[in-house]
Symmetry: C2
């Protein structure tokens, strides 16, 4: 008799495999961090160290939050319903100038706690004090794609764009594939407007040298369209192509304002796009051309962006929005179907952030699995489970979260994270930061 680590039994399984196979009342086995079987019946001659009864629950791959600045939870509900410039320059930047490494650690811990509670098993993060972000990821058991900028923008208040490539190399060497492979490291390019042609070229070369990808903000606002034309005489996508940025795996956040030609380039260069609908709407940035991206075959995933422009890290809200807004804008209810949305929230995101061995429930893949408790009024009667997850479910319906076969949350209680301590520390430091 083979003894496996974990059995999830009697559970409806959304595999997210090609063909969207759904297994009703099925069984998932986990051994050595991986899924060792997925079936509608229990194999013979097996035993398990631990069992979870999935009756009344749906099992699906964990969500991948493909674009976030987790520590910006610290500025949640701090500055809302104001113009982008006032939000950024009068509210966010002054707080960020005060941030210490400890603040970023606790802000990231808060973000990770919130993400796990809403079923996120992996996320991509771009922020400052990235050693602290790596520490929080390592400690909590979640997976993350972290990035580090090879450029320091300011010195003494002046825009200098100083070369810090060595810092990126060191960060990569220290953290890439660390935490038992739970961390991947990309090169950060904040944006084409903060970089210039030389630093873009250098960053692209560095990513090639490290054999890794690039995480970049691209064409979030109409302002960037203008500044790129002014500074480069071409679109942001075109200058990225010219400088070699698109030669490596690219995770491009936002991409709200793309030309037809930009879309073609992104498809040709196999870029991934993180669609962040809440943030794009809330900041008045506009509405990305997602149905056209998908039609072209571009890998589109979903992200929350920072909690300061959202104001939470809730992938159910991003799925719901992504499913709804494009139908409404195009007046076509057949766009953005539930199965597409679920792929965007899971497997598309996993490959975009460099985790190729997760995002689906299939034998041999890493056991990054969440269970959704559907024994609640808003899930009755039980009909199409794909529609259920996209249109009816809330983050709070996530009951259990498993990453690399390790149970991080069960019955909505963390197994290893001290939630009370995180809330206490964030409350304490927010008084200093926000003066409240």
């Amino acid at each position: 008799m083979t003894n496996f680590d974990l059995l999830i039994k009697n559970v409806d399984i959304i595999t997210m495999n090609d063909g969207n196979m759904i297994i009703e009342n099925g069984f998932i086995g986990v051994a050595d961090k991986k899924i060792c079987f997925v079936s509608d019946k229990l194999p013979d001659d097996v035993s398990f160290k631990k069992e979870i009864d999935g009756n009344g629950k749906i099992a699906m791959p964990g969500f991948v939050n493909a674009h976030s600045h987790s520590a910006m939870t610290l500025m949640r509900n701090y500055a809302d319903d104001i113009a982008l410039e006032a939000w950024l320059f009068d509210n966010i930047f002054p707080i960020e100038a005060k941030l210490t490494d400890k603040d970023v650690y606790w802000g990231t811990m808060l973000g990770i706690a919130e993400m796990l509670k809403s079923g996120v098993t992996a996320f991509a993060d771009m922020y400052m004090f990235m050693d602290e972000v790596a520490r929080a990821v390592t400690e909590t058991g979640i997976k993350a794609n972290l990035c580090k900028s090879p450029v320091q923008f300011f010195e003494g208040g002046e825009l200098k764009r100083l070369d810090r490539s060595q810092g990126t190399v060191d960060y990569y060497n220290q953290y890439h594939n660390s935490a038992d492979g739970r961390i991947k490291v990309f090169v950060e390019i904040h944006s084409t407007y903060m970089f210039n042609e030389k630093t873009l070229t250098n960053a692209a070369a560095l990513a090639k040298q490290l054999n890794t990808g690039i995480h970049i903000h691209l064409l979030e606002t109409a302002t960037e369209v203008q500044s790129s034309k002014r500074d480069y005489g071409m679109t942001s996508i075109e200058i990225c192509k010219k400088t070699g940025v698109l030669d490596v795996p690219v995770l491009a956040a936002h991409c709200v304002h793309l030309t037809d030609s930009d879309l073609e380039i992104m498809k040709e260069m196999n870029c991934s796009i993180s669609h962040n609908p809440t943030s794009n709407l809330k900041l008045g940035s506009g509405i990305a051309r997602v149905p056209e991206m998908l039609k072209l075959g571009i890998n589109v995933c979903l992200g929350t962006d920072g909690a300061s422009s959202n104001n939470n890290l809730n992938m159910f809200e991003e799925m719901n929005l992504a499913a709804l807004i494009h139908k409404g804008v195009a007046m076509d209810p057949q766009l953005m179907k539930a199965d597409t949305i679920l792929k965007m929230g899971t497997s598309n995101g996993a490959s975009a952030i460099g985790f190729t061995d997760t995002g689906k429930i299939a034998e041999g893949l890493k056991a990054d699995i969440i269970l959704i408790d559907t024994d609640k009024p808003h899930f009755y009667p039980k009909n199409n489970p794909l529609s259920t997850l996209v249109y009816s479910a809330q983050a709070s319906d996530v009951d259990t979260v498993i990453v690399d076969g390790r149970i991080l949350m069960q019955n909505r209680e963390f197994t290893a994270i001290d939630e009370e301590k995180i809330k206490y520390e964030v409350h304490a430091l927010s008084k200093r930061l926000l003066g409240r």
Copy 2:
């Protein structure tokens, strides 16, 4: 010493009064179904039959779901991501043809259970077997505006528009102000395209005779714009004005496709509009001109529509969407601010559906109060409570629901409703209805 029924203490209170007064760490007293005090300190010489500690919670007026077909919970997640006609004619109508009074009762009970769990204390409903809807409202303790059509559209499969005014009069006499005033009755006009000039005129006269309002679907789709022009030679708003429909209090659902002149008429005639963003987006109907409605001073409230086009009855999602989509479409982050959104979800809705003595937390008004549990990661750090409710909160954060001073839910447990029985009955009848 005066002995009151209920005290909610140590609670942050969003009063929704003019000026958006917020009382931190305050006290709400309830006696004889009403709020007898709201204060930052406890009055002298008072005692209470029951106390609720509101520490770590926000108190606010209950939500008003201003447009729903509650029993359509029975078709939840049954037909999604398809064209409007296929949705309605091939999926919804065939199920509705099979509905019995018992089905509508249990579907409404399910809808009410879901709404209470998400903080709704009053709703407006339009459906069939309205006696069963009144029974469910009476039994559960929630408030509702129910309506009854004076026209039977079909007989033997043929469109006949038969006069059933007496049925509406009887329904009004039986239920208006029944259930201790928790039920109001309006006249139902399904739409201008299902009615004609004569039946519109008769329905308007009937509402005047009963001294009540009208609940109507208005200009939900671009198709209605065309059919109104064809059938009446004018817009739906114009034919409503001509036939006297707008002479009484009107609750108009959707209003997606209004001309400038239509907007002016609705303002002039003091109509209320229920904005139902999820349904309008999901069915591809379009995006209503809500910022312009508000600028004109029209009373705009929020509704979920039926769960078959949503797919839940969650006012937090409607608030979040209403706050986000108009910012994104107009590329203006200063539109649809959090305080406006909260008014749309509460006090605007209360007056629209005929309950003038609720929708705010103020002395003398009915005690329709909900408590939101903010001791969760996605609420930290504690900043602007208005932003918190619109941008961070989920329906599952509602901890306690009080209607007319009666606690219907506490710690997310119903005090009087048998949730398990509702789920059981709905599961059983859905097998017959949906064949699953």
